[in-house]
Amino acid sequence: MRVLQIVETAYRATLEEQDDTVLWFTQALRSVSASVDVLLWGTAVSYAVRGQSATGFRVGRWSQQHPPAIEREIVELIESGARIAALEEDLAERGIASESLIAGIEVLSRKSLGGLFGQYARIWKW
């Protein structure tokens, strides 16, 4: 069964969780041989950008040792064979140029979504 996970909300509790909860969940599913791909949509297209850093979070004397590393999560998913795509129009709305994207991310237009969805048995939109 092929599944497409659509991630729409970026940076939801990523500092507390030390990752994105949907990307983490996707990695966990793939680790049990599930065929799961990811479409970044809405604010989550920001995850496609190279060179982000979430270091430096401090509260009083407490400082975070292991901040989320979204770029690494995306790269690991791609290296595991997952298809990771981002919506072209949502990238354009945010001024994210194709040169700034993590290597291996597909850019898909909104009009291609019907064909994309047809390739999957389940679409789970988060």
Partner: protein
């Protein structure tokens, strides 16, 4: 009686938005309709069956704790187990274990199991369909 199984993934913590009560309505309808249901609770949703939720009196409503009969989601979870038993269908609720640990929500109502995303995948593979209801 239908042998069809439906899976729901819930993510929201209790008492924050309307998606939780809507999800419980959907699950209630499915069980009443003779469908078996599997629930995977992820992140804040693991607090739904947390057994230490307590009702409270409400001075603005002018009601005592007994009169107020404040809704607690753990009672809804238990009610779904009872409904499934009455209808002769299966109801399963799995809490994401790591999410439970993060929140200390280990004290849950009877019937709730601890699991992992792999359990959700098995649920989805053995279901006619799966509805993910995420946090927004």
């Amino acid at each position: 009686m239908s042998q069809t199984t439906l899976t729901f993934l819930l993510m929201d913590a209790p008492y924050e938005q309307t998606r939780t009560s809507t999800a419980f309505r959907l699950i209630d309808c499915a069980l009443r309709g003779g469908f078996s249901v599997q629930v995977f609770a992820y992140e804040g949703a693991v607090s739904l069956p947390f057994a230490r939720q307590r009702g409270h009196a409400n001075a603005q409503h002018g009601r005592t704790v007994d009169e107020e009969a404040h809704p607690t989601p753990h009672a809804w979870v238990s009610a779904l187990f009872e409904l499934a038993k009455e209808r002769g269908v299966t109801f399963d609720w799995v809490n994401c274990g790591l999410c439970v640990d993060e929140r200390g929500a280990t004290d849950v109502v009877p019937g709730v199991r601890r699991g992992a995303p792999g359990d959700f995948w098995k649920m989805a593979l053995h279901s006619a369909n799966t509805l993910v209801i995420p946090t927004r």
